[in-house]
């Protein structure tokens, strides 16, 4: 697993949306495998000898290769090496076709027709990949009755509706959701029909990055028996042995806690298309599990691996090396501090001006400069500044202003709170002490928490008690737990949330107010007084791009004003490569989408 701070909350959907489909993340995978080969050249390092052998270090093992259950970056990246997605999106936001070669969108944005490559072959004995395989996997497994296969993305192929329209099936007992209709319309063509207009469908990670398809013949026995465990434990599924010529590499060795080794796939279907005739440009690909950061950094320094992530605190040192290059790429994850606005939080946090004062009291630029070592940008709302939905004229930027912050807090503290001897006190004159719980898994989070504690203390006279806890405890015992059962917390840090700069409507669940918020993504209990969630829902069905842009810009303006979280910063991903690697794309949130065409020369 990558450091919690940057990837907590990163799932398959968000992975596909951000760091590129199977791109350059560094995590790991496993399974049984053949005996190690003695001479595949890996141990000599990526650059030794004539082999164009890519060795990427991953900080954890891949937990699952069952494409219907993958939710982690490590497994997703590994699958992406041996099986392409339906399509991906490049640095300019344009669709890049992979297994899907053409897409037609109906005028009313309810019908989407996908044409598959004719060159796709499963491994023996499953033959040619056709639309039948895709429709079968979607309708029988992903949309399977009662989620018999316990797939992780069964929400993807349905949507909320006021009433289930004719011709659609209800996806839940209450009839609040309807399944998409998925039909085979040709040997290589299938159509997805949505019950209501879905203009952002292609920008949502539904078919974008879709890899959840297996040969019908392979899945059929399990579908008939409704045997989800059987499907999950099938050797071909867990060994990715069915992927045929659908990926740039062929899985050959999958070793627990060690490596995935995949030589070049000379029959790669994509070679039939212009610009890809000689893809991939590497002869071999290895993902090497290396849990210890010091070992990863030593290995890239000595040239034994081709790439690994570089921690911000060491970036300058590695940038100064001749043999290593460090490439920073923007991320879509906003590192924030949540306020507990539920009944078990400090009730003053429900006041917008109080939250604004807390934001003004923290020098976020200092956090970026000193904790992130300059690799990141201050966040003013849940949208990075490069997003087309970030509108300068609407976003309120709360600058660091200790005096203004104290003044604002003093003016807007709700009764019975007030100031006494420069400290915030309650109605009994007792000093208010906020519980700040944060994930103990990342040094940056702890430093940030300590810094905020000092800032609140000095600038606001507000006492904060820090409580570092394991990430799973934080989510399970504080966040997703009803106030009656939850442990005390007022502030929380260590959860990175995706800003979805391409399809911000996906953040609707962050703001949707409910009676039991602790069961939802809005577990901090934001009451959404300005109806942000509704605007996002409407925006998802808005067919006019300009109107959509206006809606979303308004949302991010409101969020910057409301400050439901303290949006701290957007960190930068720092990717370290040996100097002989030549990327063919510009740094972007799509980083790595074209990695099979990157140049990698022998290192002498």
């Amino acid at each position: 697993m990558p450091s919690r701070d940057t990837t907590d909350g990163v799932n398959r959907r968000t992975v596909l949306k951000s760091t590129a489909v199977g791109g350059v993340a560094f995590l790991a995978g496993c399974s049984e495998g053949d005996a190690p080969a003695a001479d595949d050249g890996a141990n000599g390092g990526s650059g030794d000898g004539d082999s164009r052998h890519w060795i990427g270090a991953q900080g954890s093992e891949a937990p699952n290769y069952n494409v219907f259950r993958i939710t982690d970056v490590t497994s997703s990246n590994r699958v992406s090496r041996v099986m392409d997605p339906a399509y991906t999106i490049d640095e300019d936001g344009e669709i890049v076709y992979r297994l899907v070669r053409d897409i037609e969108v109906g005028d009313d944005f309810t019908e989407f027709t996908f044409t598959l490559t004719e060159y796709g072959e499963w491994s023996d004995p499953y033959g040619q990949m056709t639309a039948e395989d895709w429709v079968y996997s979607i309708t029988e497994i992903i949309q399977g009755e009662d989620n018999w296969a316990t797939v992780s993305m069964d929400d993807d192929f349905r949507m909320g509706v006021d009433a289930v329209p004719d011709g659609f099936e209800a996806a839940d007992e209450d009839g609040d959701e309807a399944w998409f209709n998925v039909e085979e319309t040709g040997e290589f063509e299938f159509t997805i029909e949505t019950p209501e207009p879905y203009p952002s469908f292609l920008e949502e990670p539904i078919i974008w990055g879709f890899q959840e398809v297996v040969p019908r013949e392979l899945a059929e026995p399990y579908v008939e028996d409704r045997d989800g465990d059987g499907l999950n434990e099938d050797d071909e599924i867990q060994d990715l042995a069915y992927t045929g010529n659908l990926g740039a590499f062929t899985p050959e060795v999958l070793e627990t806690e060690a490596r995935m080794y995949a030589p070049r796939n000379d029959d790669y279907y994509l070679r039939n298309y212009d610009g890809h005739e000689d893809s991939p440009h590497m002869d071999e690909w290895t993902y090497q599990v290396m849990r210890e950061e010091a070992t990863r950094l030593s290995a890239i320094q000595s040239g034994e691996i081709t790439n690994t992530d570089i921690p911000a605190r060491r970036a300058e040192e590695f940038e100064g090396m001749d043999d290593v290059q460090v490439i920073g790429t923007p991320t879509v994850y906003c590192q924030s501090m949540f306020y507990n606005m539920r009944s078990d939080g400090w009730d003053a946090l429900n006041t917008t001006e109080v939250r604004q004062a807390l934001t003004m009291a923290v020098d976020r630029q200092s956090i970026v400069d000193n904790i992130q070592h300059g690799y990141g940008t201050v966040a003013h709302t849940l949208q990075p500044e490069y997003s087309e939905f970030y509108d300068d004229s609407q976003v309120v930027q709360w600058e660091y202003d200790p005096d203004g912050a104290r003044e604002r807090l003093e003016q807007h503290l709700p009764s019975p709170y007030g100031y006494s001897d420069g400290r915030v006190v309650d109605g009994d004159g007792e000093e208010v002490v906020l519980d700040f719980v944060f994930s103990d898994s990342a040094e940056a989070t702890e430093l940030t928490a300590r810094y905020i504690q000092d800032e609140f203390d000095e600038n606001l006279g507000l006492a904060v008690e820090l409580e570092p806890v394991p990430w799973n405890s934080m989510l399970n015992e504080f966040f997703y737990t009803a106030p009656a059962d939850a442990r005390d917390w007022d502030l929380m840090a260590g959860i990175g949330r995706n800003s979805y700069p391409r399809a911000p409507e996906a953040t609707e669940s962050y703001w949707r107010a409910t009676d039991e918020p602790w069961d939802t993504a809005n577990a901090y209990g934001y009451d959404d007084p300005q109806g942000i969630a509704d605007i996002l829902t409407e925006s998802a069905q808005e067919t006019d791009p300009e109107a959509r842009q206006e809606n979303l810009a308004e949302v991010y303006g409101i969020l910057s004003e409301e400050q439901p979280w303290n949006f701290l910063y957007f960190p930068e991903d720092l990717n370290g490569y040996r100097a002989h690697v030549e990327p063919t794309e510009d740094p972007s949130i799509s980083w790595g989408y074209d990695i099979h065409r990157w140049e990698i020369e022998s290192e002498q």
Binding site: M1, D8, G9, N11, R13, C30, S31, E32, A38, A42, N43, E61, P63, Y65, N66, T71, D72, N147, T150, S152, D155, D156, G228, D229, N232, E233, Q238, E255, T256, E257, A258, R259, Y261, T286, V289, M290, R291, E292, A294, T295, S298, A299, Q301, S302, E304, W471, N472, S473, L475, N476, Y480, I495, R497, N498, S509, Y510, W518, D519, T520, A521
Partner: protein, 323 residues
């Protein structure tokens, strides 16, 4: 003696059952794992209710709905050698262990042999040459070895011998044949790190135990009879000292394998049992934890049995016949 061994084996089964039951209870009543929490968080962000997401996670694990159901599933599985499915590695538990034990064995075994032979030899030498320069040097080595944290020592060795000098690889790669020079080369640093502390520890024990006999009356008698110094040292000092020393052997091997091994395996990226068992505990992969608990429990209990039998060989006065 046979009755004693039979009783000890029966006790083995009982002790194993108790240990596994306690392990199961600790795991089953632990909060959700990091992987589980992450799964739930992801599902909730996509619109699923948190409780539903927790249920879905439990369904994916497939261990059973109630604690009793899970317990009986695991225990019956262990007893029938169906050790279940590792959710952390998505493969049968038996395969995980079968794939990983050899990687631990290939460096733990030489490290253990080295530490026992060198540790005992240096300890014995130190004891028979008390307060000499050699004794002080050995003591210095011992305290240094015991004091050096393995993780720091390992990283330093990597920086010096791999990154700076380029003589050895920085990490263990499974893509070389097990019986090859390359493999031996990449095991040098792990063996050095693991055996340094162990040699030091064995050496201190051996020195202390041997000292008890260096000035013993029967040793003086042996010398007076004209035996050579080597004969005196091996037969009359080392042999009686061996009895208490053997008691620490099983503990040392387990410590090397599962405690020291974890640090070594993480830093050198050796995909062995120490790493696997540690990750299984952290990720609460119950079937894998139970299986990996079973192994040291067996080693400990059987090892202690073998140890007891060794006593009777080393010191014929010891007899378990009436127990």
């Amino acid at each position: 003696m046979k009755a004693y061994i039979a009783k000890r084996i029966a006790w083995t089964f009982f002790a194993t059952w108790v240990t596994l039951t306690i392990t199961f209870l600790l795991l089953d009543f632990s909060p959700i794992s990091a992987a589980g929490a992450e799964f739930v968080d992801q599902q909730v962000q996509q619109g699923m209710d948190a409780d539903e997401a927790r249920e879905l996670y439990q369904e994916q694990l497939g261990h059973g709905d109630t604690a009793w159901e899970r317990y009986t599933n695991f225990m019956v599985g262990l007893a029938t050698f169906d050790w279940g499915w590792s959710s952390m590695y998505s493969q049968p538990v038996v395969d995980v262990i079968a794939n990983s034990w050899i990687y631990s064995f290939q460096y733990v075994f030489p490290a253990t042999v080295l530490s026992v032979i060198l540790g005992f030899a240096i300890g014995l030498y130190s004891a028979t040459h008390q307060y000499t320069k050699e004794d002080y040097a050995a003591t210095l080595f011992a305290f240094t070895g015991i004091s050096l944290p393995n993780f720091w020592f390992a990283i330093m060795l990597i920086l010096i011998f791999a990154t700076m000098l380029g003589w050895l690889p920085t990490y263990y790669s499974t893509d070389v044949a097990l019986l090859s020079l390359e493999n031996a080369k990449q095991l040098i640093l792990p063996v050095i790190v693991l055996s340094t502390a162990a040699i030091a520890s064995e050496m201190r024990y051996a020195r202390a135990e041997s000292l008890e006999y260096v000035h013993a009356e029967f040793v003086k008698t042996a010398r007076a009879k004209g035996l050579s110094e080597n004969q005196v040292t091996i037969r009359h000092i080392f042999r009686p000292a061996m009895v208490p020393l053997i008691t620490i052997l099983v503990g040392d091997i387990l410590g090397l394998l599962f405690a020291g091994g974890y640090v070594i395996e993480v830093i050198f990226q050796i995909p062995g049992l120490g790493l696997v068992s540690y990750e299984a505990i952290i990720q609460q992969d119950t079937p894998l934890v139970l299986a990996t608990v079973l192994i040291p429990v067996f080693i400990a209990i059987i090892g202690n049995l073998v140890q007891d039998i060794c006593y009777t060989i080393l010191d014929p006065r010891i007899d378990f016949g009436d127990r």
